[in-house]
């Protein structure tokens, strides 16, 4: 399952533009990523007000078996971390493109999106893994 209105990183994060005027985006991990991780039990996400930089580590995600780094698909300021994930990290497994979003960010530069994969490019990418 892939969402057509997102751009993607090779580390399996997605970014979706919510407001073009405000440069506001949502960030999450893909269905492929949550399936690979298995049952997610904990997330360490950047706090509101913090700064993230494109392709830099922004946090961690833990499943029962493994822990992985999270990378930000874009640079900007974090407006909100998904408050529901503290008590319900399984939302990332159940609805990775919806209720399982990770952070809301004001992008510094919308041009950064051009360097990310489109949905069809990401589809080909994961089929080659």
């Amino acid at each position: 399952m892939i969402s057509d209105d997102c751009k993607y990183t090779q580390e399996h994060e997605w970014v979706k533009v919510e407001s073009t005027e405000a440069n506001e985006v949502l960030v999450g991990i893909t269905d492929y990523a949550q399936d690979q991780l298995g049952d997610i039990v904990y997330l360490e996400l950047p706090q509101t007000g913090s700064v993230v930089k494109q392709l830099d580590k922004m946090g961690e995600i833990e499943s029962v078996k493994a822990v992985s780094d999270l990378f930000s698909p874009i640079s900007g300021n974090v407006i909100e971390s998904n408050p529901d994930l503290n008590d319900h990290p399984e939302l990332v497994n159940e609805d990775p493109f919806g209720k399982g979003w990770l952070i809301r960010v004001t992008m510094t530069s919308a041009n950064e999106l051009d360097g990310l994969m489109t949905a069809s490019e990401y589809q080909s990418y994961i089929e080659g893994l």
Partner: protein, 375 residues
Amino acid sequence: MTDSNKRTPLYDSHISAGARMVPFGGWDMPVQYSGIISEVESVRTKVGIFDVSHMGRVYISGPSATEFLDLMLTGSASELRIGRARYCMICNQDGGVIDDTIFYKLEEQNYLLIPNAGNRDAVVGWFNKWNDEKFGNACNISDTTLDTGLLAVQGPDAVSLIDELFTLGDGVQPSSLRVFSFGEGTWKTGTSKGKSVFMGRTGYTGEDGFEVVVDKAMLTDAWDQLVNGGAVPAGLGARDVLRLEAGLPLHGHEIDEDTTPIEAGLNRFVKQSGGFIGSEVLHNQIEQGIEKKLIGLQLMGRSAPRVGYSISLEGEEIGHVTSGSYSPTLDKSIAMGYVLERYSKIGQRLQIDIRGRMTDTEVVGLPFYSRPRRS
């Protein structure tokens, strides 16, 4: 997956049940099917089934078999009654653990041992060496691992499911076997009807249940009948969480050739009479004390310590984690690890370095989880 990995006869059954396969101990094994958390819950509340055919089936027989095993094992073979099983360790001369195993006394001079998959060759090699050097090869050591399969049926509903499918003959039900007893069961139904299996009331999950040795030819039928009867397929991921919750050691983590059963807190599986390989070292440790000790650690949050993470007290490193996981049953993170003995008391507050986050933890008694006793 590499070409050299072995596959159990149930490989295709695992794939069609949606398993994700991983290499483990030289085998391609299912790590999970529906998901680790739901599989753990099935085993804790209903019944789960594990294909553990990768574990060894090694028979020891011959006129000196009991004497031989009394030398090789930390648990007594001579004092074990026929029809009973025992958990113990196989130690090297320094008291380090080559493997841990359950062994079953089939006859006065005939035993079945279940070594871990990755240690089977080491155990058989170690036995062959001593059989040659000390016993003039009088023991017959027979590794039948590849001729049979091994299924673990575990959980509060496991015994009633086994009773539905098997009889011990003359209307005697498998549930009449006590824990750590075994018998020969006969299939009541299916294409294997009338055929017999070896069944022991043992396991590695902290739940009641059976481990069943089945001929290769019947294994798929056995799996299908047990799954159709309600047993939920569970993989190595769930098995690792379950054994950790139950405070059971895993070789290569809590025990290895550089740790002793005494350091691992396994004293009750070490016979006091001695006379086995490594016994002098172990008895010295019992009398004079140990430097490091295995402990259980409980954390407040869900972020889990992982193997190798450092354990410290006021900034000073005093040990390391050997296993850690989020525990679905307790809904908090748990770990086992070694610390300096003087910091091993229950209630001791310590810190674990979780990838740079110094996280508070507390020493707790093992096991983390005990099943509720049922009348």
